[in-house]
């Protein structure tokens, strides 16, 4: 999978662990040889830019809605997509991505209602679920195992 194009799709940044996990995942996947792009809403992108001003962890940061349009219009494509979600809108965006893209989907579901939200996912994906909002460690540990499997 080295060299594969990976999209990290951030939703609303209301839940704190999204930013830290996006930075961590982008860095870890980049170090493993993946071509990583992070897509976010304006607020999610600003949080990331302030946290990583020199682009050390996130090399490519793009607008979420424009990326969706580019995929639909076949101007870009990805092999893998990690979709962050903690609310119904995040799940709705991820479902759209699953429908318009051939990427293998990974749903990162977090926040206080993570388990109930994960139950609503109807598209084919691997679910990484942690009922956490502030402490990213449990979600990070689960993602480490997923990445281990991907890079095998």
């Amino acid at each position: 999978m080295t060299g594969a194009k990976v999209l990290l799709m951030m939703g609303c940044p209301e839940i704190p662990i999204q930013t830290s996990i996006a930075l961590y995942l982008s860095h870890k996947l980049t170090k493993s040889g993946f071509d990583v792009t992070v897509a976010g809403t304006a607020a999610a992108s600003k949080l990331l830019k302030v946290s990583d001003p020199d682009g050390y962890y996130v090399k490519k940061l793009v607008d979420l809605d424009k990326t969706i349009v580019n995929i639909i219009e076949k101007r870009t494509s990805f092999d893998l997509c990690f979709a962050f979600m903690h609310n119904d809108a995040g799940m709705t965006y991820a479902t759209t991505m699953s429908s318009i893209s051939q990427a293998r989907m990974y749903s990162i579901v977090f926040g206080r209602n993570a388990e109930a939200l994960a139950e609503t996912i109807e598209f084919d994906c691997e679910k990484i679920v942690a009922q956490d909002a502030h402490n990213p460690v449990r979600l990070k540990n689960k993602l480490d195992k997923v990445i281990e499997e991907i890079v095998k």
Partner: protein, 126 residues
């Protein structure tokens, strides 16, 4: 920002789950059409949604779901020359159409997961 936000629209429902948006459109439209995620309407809005995505017609108004990551889903209505063009395009394609007379039945594909309990839950946490 898509062209929708620069158009004159009416918000029929706001900050709801996508399932609630679909149900509202099905119950409050004279004609209902089902489209895939990414279906383009107006100049540059590609519909974000969970299939089957219901798009409704009421008179010359187009009723459709609009989802924003931080604010949930909305049901919007737009009535102008462009909405008439969009309605004609849906009618010409004709796929997945459910008319007012028959719309009490199920849509072409039903959702697998019961979203109602979750929809209530997330609304209480925002």
């Amino acid at each position: 920002m898509s062209c929708i936000e620069q158009m004159k629209y009416t918000i029929l429902l706001q900050r709801i789950s996508f399932k609630e948006a679909r149900e509202y459109i099905e119950k409050n439209s004279e004609e209902v059409y089902y489209v895939s995620p990414g279906y383009k309407i107006f100049k540059d809005y590609y519909i974000i949604g969970v299939p089957p995505i219901a798009v409704g017609v009421k008179g010359s108004a187009l009723i459709f779901p609009y989802t924003k990551p931080c604010h949930g889903s909305f049901v919007l209505s737009i009535e102008n020359e462009d909405s008439i063009k969009e309605i004609n395009r849906l009618r010409e394609a004709g796929e997945g159409k459910v008319t007012a007379l028959s719309k009490k039945g199920k849509p072409p594909e039903s959702s697998k997961a019961p979203l109602t309990s979750y929809g209530d839950m997330w609304k209480n946490n925002t």
